[in-house]
């Protein structure tokens, strides 16, 4: 189940959304000095056109832009179930705007001009968080695939086993012999690649909505 090696920092991109050309380009350049890949967008609309659920990394967004504002972009990303952390940048910080950004789930809120130390630390932490989220998502889809391959009977056995029943009790509930339960149980473990009962419980927990 280990997935840490499937994603590397190289595949992550910082999506820079800012209507000001120099602010946008200079930020991308600053990121490049730390070998962080980035891609610039001049409006919320152009980023939304590019967005898809498989993007990996984080987003930096300016609050004040013509057309959709940064906060409206955050709202739109939330309705699309975006998982990338969003860092909000603003030229004029005031408390109501900060509170709204935070309530919309902003990862952080930085006032322009920010110090490069601060911005880079923030972006790096956001990318690390993005990786964790990606891993959790991959684990979820792998577990889902594993469960899809189970037969109806194997699924029944798994549910009862996970609930804490002994093989004997499971056999009694389903009207089959203990020996048959053991066989089903072994196939469940094999198909889900679970190494222990607790790992099986975890897979079920991850997918509690889907079963």
């Amino acid at each position: 189940m280990s997935v840490t090696d499937q994603l590397t920092e190289d595949e992550q991109t910082v999506f820079v959304v800012d209507d000001d050309l120099s602010a946008r380009e200079s930020l991308c350049w600053l990121l490049s000095t730390e070998d962080i890949a980035s891609r610039a967008f001049d409006s919320a609309e152009s980023f939304l056109a590019h967005w898809n659920p498989d993007l990996s990394g984080c987003v930096t967004v300016d609050v004040r832009m013509p057309g959709k504002s940064g906060l409206q972009l955050q709202e739109e990303l939330n309705t699309r179930h975006n998982l990338m952390p969003v860092i909000v940048l603003t030229g004029h910080a005031d408390v109501p705007v900060a509170i709204r950004a935070m309530k919309l789930g902003a990862y952080d809120f930085l006032e322009k001009p920010y110090s490069d130390d601060e911005l880079l630390a923030c972006v790096k932490n956001a990318l690390a968080l993005g990786r964790e989220i990606d891993h959790a998502e991959i684990a979820k889809s792998q577990a889902a695939r594993a469960l899809e391959n189970l037969t109806e009977r194997e699924r029944e056995v798994m549910c009862l086993v996970v609930e804490g029943n002994t093989n004997k009790a499971v056999g009694a509930r389903l009207g089959i012999s203990e020996k048959t339960v053991e066989i089903h149980r072994a196939r469940v473990m094999e198909k889900t690649a679970a190494r222990s009962l607790s790992e099986l419980v975890r897979i079920c927990l991850i997918l509690k909505d889907k079963i």
Binding site: T33, P85, V97, C204
Partner: protein
């Protein structure tokens, strides 16, 4: 299906007891610089506040020393960290903690998010006048690790060419800092350094006298009033540990930002709550320069030259300021024109008509009586003719629109003196505690003028008791109820009180030093009362006018402040973009230089200077904005409809001029709101002015503006202003709320931009839309509380 149900039960059984029922514990590590007990007392209310706001967690305080803090953070035992600025930056660098909010410290009655340190000596020490002079002298500080108590001063001394460890006899005395101040004043050491504000607090407590202290290397700041010798650094941050869940950190940040300044949690922390985290970059710079904390590894940098290239920015800022002032003058002229209100004239005409009707009525009555009595008594007839002439005179005086109030008053009194055959007439305002003479007329005689002071008091009491005018033609042998003999003061007196807003506000009084040659009649008293009535009405009208003008002046003032604030915000936004770019490039360049190992220290220093100067330019802009926006919001509870109506009333002359119909529709059960009433009225005025211009430019007829006040599904209050003008084009809609964007030949392009700022600062939204009737509409919402 059975399986699904089974599994759901199983999952519920597994998950619920562990995650929903039990509260999880969250530890807040707190730096206890004055001992554990003090730290707990100071921060426990904050932990309780967080537990109340975020009910699924329980927050607890863990008081720690500097070393303890390092251990606990390293071993991942803390979820949140509350520590001093210097320690925060060390932990941020080493363990990736990150700040959520900055403390607003309350000190001597004001709030500060920054602090510094002061370096000082005794006032009578003539050898020491600047930081550079302290070499070879003794100095006392808190400790080598103390950020405000030593490290800030260390940086400034280094900048002045002094290494405190080599060039000074340096001693550390620990807390409290008061001991350092006493040691310097007692002459035990030459120089001391303490956190800013310490000296002012000791002076306020009467422990020291500030004029015995000489500050070395003093700096000035518009926003920071305390003596300080060092740069300013941000106050304590509230930070989260690397492993703390992001969602929880956001909820904590929001809770901290919403902490009321007067709550127990804020007061016990000696604070006014929390604000958006400040930039801790300057602290990084300090550590980098001192080669301590996270930068202990750095090589020795040279700090010598200041690059002057960025003077351009300052000149540009000043030019912008001048532009601001010029625009301000334009606005104030425009406002003055608006305030030539037709309201005033209508109210005046109305009052005049009432007074005239009153006079006409009395004239009729008097003429009737004249007719009756002419037949009977010739002398009475003569007196009535005289009174008729007087009435005409009074009518002429009071209805003359060209006379000022004071002139009318004097004319009235003169006419009264002539008619009643008295020497002195006066009007006294008795509304306040003291009698206040509004006007006095003395007919020249050879006798000394009457002393009215005591007379007024006695007459006033008498009128208060009898509730009727006083008319005594011969005071000899006459005594008022419970009063001493008044014949020493005057010979005769005639007085009545006048009412303003149905309350006795003053009296009109005529007096003579000798007895009157005739008895006062009903006609005399009628005329006296007529004068009193006119007087009360006139004062009431003046008061209403004054209030209306004060309201308009306030609106104009707020409008000017808003315009300035909005322009500053617009300029700040435009300037901050290139400044951000400069800082990105200079920061990146330093990183590249370091990475490639180029030892070109001159180039390195120049790039550092570029960054410093860009930051300085940003600080100037920020200072300018803070200066302009210092005006506070006054929140009050009011009915939105009243506020909208008052805006419509203000623009009534324009609406009449262009023959525009205004329709206000209010839904049922719209609650009162809590907001800055004048600001909201400003938004309504802005939207109405736009609507008036739109219907005038449009082709539709009849010209019509509709205002709707409703409650939204989200429980907010919404105001929509729609007009019969043309719909806006897409290109205009895109830039509608941008500052300085306008479609009018005489517009500044600030109205909608200001409106948006006001509405957003109240937590509401504003938008343009097309309503069901296909009319252009501006709609704003405001939260109820």
């Amino acid at each position: 299906m059975v399986i699904h149900a089974l599994l759901l039960c199983l999952v519920a059984g597994l998950v619920l007891p562990r995650f929903a029922l039990a509260q999880a514990d969250m530890s807040i590590g707190v730096l206890a610089f004055r001992g554990k007990q003090d730290a707990i007392e100071r921060w426990l209310p904050t932990a309780r506040y967080l537990s109340e706001r975020i009910t699924d967690y329980r927050f607890e305080i863990v008081p720690l020393t500097l070393e303890g803090m390092l251990d606990q953070v390293e071993q991942n035992r803390l979820d949140f960290i509350l520590t001093n600025t210097g320690n925060y930056v060390v932990l941020e660098n080493a363990f990736g903690i990150s700040r959520l909010a900055t403390l607003k410290v309350r000190h001597l009655g004001a709030e500060f998010t920054q602090f510094g340190a002061v370096i000082f000596t005794r006032q009578d020490n003539t050898e020491l006048n600047a930081l550079a002079d302290v070499a070879g002298h003794s100095m006392l500080a808190v400790s080598e690790e103390a950020f405000g108590g030593f490290q800030m001063a260390w940086r400034e001394l280094l900048d002045a060419g002094i290494d405190p460890f080599e060039d000074l006899r340096l001693k550390f005395g620990g807390f409290p800092q008061d001991d350092i101040v006493h040691a310097v004043l007692a002459g035990e050491v030459d120089v001391g350094t303490v956190r800013s504000g310490t000296l002012e607090r000791m002076a306020a407590d009467g422990l020291i006298e500030l004029d015995r202290i000489k500050v070395l290397g003093a700096r000035q700041s518009d926003v920071f009033p305390f003596l300080h010798s060092t740069r300013l650094y941000p106050e304590w941050p509230f930070a989260k540990a690397r492993g703390t869940p992001e969602k929880l950190a956001q909820r904590v940040a929001v809770a901290l930002l919403e902490l009321e300044p007067d709550s127990e949690a804020a007061l016990r922390a000696y604070s006014a709550g929390w604000t958006i985290p400040l930039d801790y970059g300057p602290v990084h710079e300090l550590f980098r320069e001192l080669e301590i904390g996270p930068y202990a590894y750095l090589g020795k940098p040279s700090l010598t030259s200041v690059w002057r290239e960025y003077k351009g920015w300052i000149i540009f800022s000043l030019a912008m300021m001048l532009l601001l002032v010029a625009l301000l003058i334009l606005i104030s002229r425009a406002n003055r024109r608006i305030s030539q209100s037709e309201l005033k004239y209508r109210a005046e005409a109305n009052q005049r008509r009432l007074a005239q009707e009153l006079l006409a009525r009395h004239k009729e009555e008097l003429e009737e009586r004249v007719a009756e009595r002419t037949a009977e008594l010739a002398d009475v007839n003569a007196s009535l003719r005289r009174s008729e002439a007087t009435l005409r005179a009074i009518h002429d005086i009071t209805s003359n629109a060209e006379l000022r109030f004071e002139d009318k008053l004097a004319g009235l009194l003169r006419e009264g003196c002539r008619f009643f055959e008295m020497e002195t007439g006066l009007v006294v305002n008795t509304g306040g505690d003291n009698a206040d003479t509004l006007a006095r007329v003395d007919i020249e005689t050879e006798r000394a003028p009457v002393d009215c002071h005591r007379l007024v008091q006695s007459v006033r009491e008498q009128i208060g008791i009898s509730q009727a005018p006083v008319a005594v033609s011969d005071l000899r042998g006459h005594s008022f109820q419970g009063q001493e003999d008044l014949c020493g003061l005057a010979g005769s007196v005639l007085a009545a009180d006048y009412l303003v807003d149905d309350e006795a506000a003053g009296i009109i009084l005529f007096a003579s030093s000798s007895a009157s040659p005739r008895e006062f009649s009903d006609v005399d008293i009628d005329i006296l009362q007529l004068m009193a009535q006119w007087l009360g009405g006139e004062i009431e009208r003046t008061e209403i006018n004054r209030r209306a003008q004060a309201h308009q002046a306030q609106l104009a003032h707020v409008s000017r402040l808003n315009t300035m604030g909005e322009m500053a915000t617009g300029i700040a936004h435009e300037l901050n973009q290139p400044l951000t770019a400069i800082l990105n490039y200079s920061g990146g360049s330093l990183r590249l230089l370091q990475k490639r190992g180029n030892g070109d220290s001159e180039l390195h220093q120049a790039i550092v200077s570029i960054g410093n100067d860009a930051r300085r330019a940003a600080d100037i802009i920020k200072g300018l904005r803070e200066f302009i926006q210092r005006g506070e919001h006054r929140r009050e509870r009011f009915v939105l409809e009243d506020c909208i109506e008052s805006a419509v009333e203000l623009l009534r002359p324009r609406l009449l001029q262009h023959d525009i119909e205004v329709d206000i529709r209010r839904a049922e059960a719209v609650p009162e709101i809590v907001a800055d009433r004048v600001q909201i009225e400003q938004v309504a005025v802005n939207l109405l002015i736009n609507a008036i211009d739109a219907v005038c430019a449009g082709s539709q007829s009849p010209k019509k503006i509709e205002i709707g006040i409703t409650r939204t599904d989200a429980g907010e209050v919404a105001v929509s202003v729609s007009d019969s003008g043309d719909l806006l084009s897409q290109s205009v809609i895109e830039r509608l709320f941008d500052p300085f964007y306008t479609t009018k030949s005489d517009g500044m392009g600030m109205g909608l931009s200001i409106s948006r700022s006001i509405v957003e600062s109240h937590g509401g939204t504003i938008e343009y839309l097309v309503n069901e009737a296909q009319h252009p509409t501006f709609r704003f919402t405001l939260p109820v509380t």
